[in-house]
Symmetry: C2
Subunit: 629 residues, 2 copies
């Protein structure tokens, strides 16, 4: 079986330079867009004012317009009188001054009188300055003046400026057209798949084209998704030729750009045109190919969804932006402390997806799952941290630059919970968002002990914990031991039934922990430091069982749902976890005992409005009253 | 003439609380949106995973899948051999593991051999761990797990998470429908107006509905613009009743919400329903009315475009966001130093539009024109500063919180020029953006002397200046006098012809500055500290003319185009300014002399890449070489 090789890994910077250099010339046509259809379009030239705005001298107040010179000498003792329609004219704000007028006197400063014949006079007791309360012609914009530069995206503000300047059909770029070709023999259109087919793995759902289409739209382009092409060189060759000859400006093949035996994208680009880059030293995103066919850029985008997003953001979106005379919209950045030291792969620029929370004065970053396949790590992320190639990982005490996916306000509204996982945390988050807009709960799962360590280091607002102490009670002993000197309140969130999670119908007829040592039974464990692991060890000791006799004791998951999924997928015969996780996946559950899941909250955060909101939600849902350690 | 009164000015906070309290219940229906049509929609409920993702154990590498237990004992000396199709199976990344397999061995670590009968075997020299290179079922998402909370806007990342979780038609909110009713007898649809009608002021262009539509779209809603209604109570009453009975969720009347004699919006709302708020203590945005008719919210939005934007952002967008279970998208914020102390109106919360530049380590804010009518102040703004009501203005040395309209990266790419105005600065900006993507020139016009003062205070990167010295040469004397101890380089940007700007055909037959003292001739001057003003005074002294004999000497404009517009609009018979400004408006020009317009650049910025880019552009356009003072 032949394995291909990457040309040579390029750095992100070099690959970008190659791409933007080769395709520097914008292939986009321009067109006039009437303003009512111009929202979101991009200006293709400097828009210059056709008219001055205002196009005339206008009233800036409601009142009478008159010639200032006529008012000179008016005083309380000698008011001056004007006849409406002759020497003075009622005007409303915005109306043009009648000929001969150069000032407006506010309605409050006027005494008006109607005569029997219907004529009206006004008198004033103070002279007016020339041009008082007048919006002068050209005050906003003067004809021929530049209003907006090319590359400007037309939003609400720009709409107003263009209209005021009389630019009723600005010249905009035609939307860049992007052909997206999903490729892979294992793929089938999302709509054609049933849950059964999906669960069997006979076909994989093709949904990257949805993600890529959204990224194209975000960059101002129009996506066109072509049918799925199997991993057959002839078919890939044919479709690439067809795409190169189509009116599209950019061709994206997803995937087949890696160096596997059935990855043909790179070599077919080389065969039909020129392969410029194959392999980029970023993670995720490494298996990216960049080339051209018939002068048209072709991007080979990796298949894992997160890699696809990173690669298209870095290359596709940047190219589309450049063609539209602007830079890719950058996310705002901030400095964040990693909640603990984060390793990264040397020689690769790694893009970490993180959750963020502001604890005391520090922005704290907690990384999400790193796998390039974990789409959830993108939708759950609050920000992205780039660990540059020459650096091996991020130390815990050096702030790292983070690109913000959520607004600073959203992040500041978040309570950061680090610790043990319980599904109630997700429910709480939903209720918080609903009952206290602007407030939310973001949680990272590192086990009970990890949560207490994070509390100690000031890296979270609260920690979910269920640690069984040597005295048989929950949490109090652990807090005394691990958080000396840190005043903490404990809030009971739930009493949880822990037990063995087994396949539906319990086919192996397990009855309890003793059965875990039976031949043929495999176990899935939770990670060290998790409350469930502590409970297991405590129960094993109580029963006098040897953990080394349990097959799978060393196989670890980080969440209850992870354990349940391992059982549901047949990876293990049983795991220890909460009942809710078993029920969610339709599994059977053998109770072991009830444990106390508490939220540990440092007293210094107690009066924080977000914590008070959280407590309100918990009390509203029948949660216990907090008690002091 | 009757003048109405505001109910009582509400603070922004109170007005918002009233609005969001009264209309807390979301009137929006929900609907299922297929994913390929869901881009930009908002989730109406917690989206829970239908499937686990992956839905099966899959290969995380290309290679062979097998049962790890079968490999135990394999070594270099005793390789183990497997038959493809029986005990081992070729798999590509992402493919499901065949039944009985629980590990993948990478293709690099395998020796494969084909026999004559077509059968294939692979051998390996090292045992595999169970679950090595396997993406386990549910690694990304476990069925029933919460994927995304309500209120989430579906972008590229969310699209991926929903598809991976099998949520193919998420429940989203119906787009809020907003009826926009332009009102005002003076208004006509933009498309129906010719430049002649506009210049006459007979009709004003109605374009706020374009701005408001864009703001509605930004907030996820669908705008519906109704025909313009004249300021006739009966017609306004009729259209408001019709709108209240329509399927729209929110009704916006623009304008008529002020307290002028022809402003009927507020009283008609009170008559047909309930008027909750009339007048808010923000500037711009004060004449806002909030009420309900038939239980439907009605917003009376002020007529000045900037006021309309502020009022709709604060009230309309927030209400639409709340109905969609989220908060209005907030702009990121930063701290900026005002370039000089900025006064504001006591008792009102003022929203200042500012330009921004990063000078040394400070973000510097320069306010744009404040008039509520100056739409250009929005499109030109880089950020917004709120001067809170209890504070009178912003001191020069206290950083103020600024909401950023441009990305920090765009702002950091900007050179901030404060000083004299020349149209070449706009041209330079356009060329910079084009030739050096990411780089731009942002300029604020405060006259030559104001620019030198800003340089001295470290509040800008460069200053455009044309100050005639007592020795008859330009700029050198002023720099020596005002910037002692600050090493500065001067770059000649243009030699400018200054002269009298007069009406087309010079109907008053002016010949030079002497004629300015003629009876009936009015002059428009530039502000104190501007180079043009210095030139005028210098020339008047040279000619022995008395400035007090010039009518209009005290009437000031801040730019050359402002002077030209004053002449074009008949406000003055003549003004002193550059030829380019006269030509742009089709005016006549009587040359007075040639002056040197230089850019003063502190030496400490000389090697800054943005300054170097600027110099490249200037040299490319035939600019002079820089010389050192």
């Amino acid at each position: 079986m032949r394995r291909k090789v990457y040309l040579k890994l390029s750095t992100l910077e070099d690959a970008l330079k190659t791409l933007l250099g080769k395709f520097a010339e914008s292939p986009l046509a321009t067109e006039k867009a009437p303003l009512d259809q111009a929202f979101g379009r991009t200006l293709a030239e400097n828009a210059s004012a056709v008219l001055s705005s205002p196009a005339f001298h206008g009233a800036a107040m409601d009142g009478v317009a008159l010639a200032a010179a006529d008012t000179f000498g008016a005083s309380e003792r000698r008011p001056k009188t004007f006849t409406i329609g002759q020497t003075a004219h009622w005007v409303n704000t915005g109306q043009p001054l009648p000929g001969g007028c150069d000032a407006v006197v506010m309605v409050e400063n006027i005494v008006s009188e109607k005569a029997g014949d219907g004529s009206e006079t006004v008198s004033l007791e103070k002279a007016a300055f020339p041009w008082q309360h007048v919006r002068k012609m050209g005050e906003d914009l003067v004809a021929a003046e530049s209003v907006l530069p090319p590359g400007t995206i037309i939003g609400a503000y720009e709409m107003g400026a263009l209209a005021a300047a009389g630019v009723l059909s600005p010249l905009v770029f035609a939307r860049p057209r992007v052909v997206i070709i999903p490729s892979g023999s294992e793929l089938a259109p999302l709509a054609e798949l049933t849950p059964e087919i999906l669960a069997s793995g006979a076909k994989l759902p093709e949904f990257n084209s949805l993600i890529l289409s959204a990224l194209v739209r975000e960059a101002g382009g129009e996506p066109e998704v072509w049918p799925i092409v199997p991993d057959e060189p002839d078919q890939i060759r044919a479709v690439l030729l067809k795409a190169a000859q189509s009116p599209a400006h950019l061709v994206v093949v997803n995937a087949g750009s890696s160096a596997g035996s059935r990855d043909f994208t790179a070599e077919i680009i080389a065969e039909l045109g020129e392969l410029l880059v194959h392999g980029v030293s970023i993670m995720p995103g490494k298996p990216t190919a960049i080339g051209e066919i018939g002068g048209k850029p072709v991007l080979g985008i990796p298949g894992y969804p997160v890699s696809a997003v990173v690669a298209f953001e870095e290359f596709g979106q940047r190219l589309l932006a450049r063609w539209q005379s602007r830079e890719k919209t950058e996310k705002p950045t901030a400095l964040a402390l990693p909640f603990q030291a984060l390793p990264s792969k040397p020689g690769m620029e790694e893009i970490l997806r993180v959750k963020l929370g502001r604890v005391d004065d520090n922005l704290i970053a907690v990384p999400l799952a790193r796998g390039a396949g974990t789409v959830s790590s993108l939708s759950r992320a609050d920000g992205l941290i780039r660990a540059p190639a020459p650096v091996e990982g991020l130390p815990a005490d050096v702030p790292a630059k983070v690109s913000l996916i959520r607004s600073p306000r959203e992040i500041d509204g978040a309570l950061l919970a680090i610790g043990s996982h319980d599904n109630t945390l997700d429910l709480l988050d939903g209720l918080l968002r609903k009952q206290h807009p602007g407030c939310r709960l973001t949680s990272a799962h590192v086990g009970s002990l990890g949560g207490l360590m994070a509390l100690k280091a000031g890296r979270c607002h609260l920690a979910g914990t269920h640690l069984l102490g040597p005295d048989g009670t929950y949490n109090r002993a652990a807090i005394s031991e691990y958080l000396p000197g840190l005043p903490v309140k404990l809030v009971r969130l739930v009493d949880r039934e822990q037990g063995l999670i087994v396949a539906p119908g319990n086919p192996l007829e397990l009855e309890g922990l003793r059965d875990l040592t039976r031949a043929g039974i495999t176990f899935i464990n939770r990670q060290r430091g998790s409350g469930t692991r502590v409970l297991l060890d405590w129960e094993l000791a109580r029963l006098g069982l040897d953990k080394n006799a349990i097959s799978g004791y060393e196989d670890e998951e980080y969440t209850h749902t992870g354990v349940a999924a391992a059982v549901a997928g047949g990876r293990a015969s049983a795991g220890l976890g909460v009942k809710a996780a078993a029920l969610a996946l339709g599994l059977d559950f053998l109770p072991i005992g009830v444990e106390e899941y508490d939220l540990a909250i440092p007293e210094r955060f107690w009066d924080d409005s977000r914590i008070q909101s959280l407590l309100e939600v918990i009390r509203g849902k029948g949660g216990h009253c907090p008690w002091r350690l």
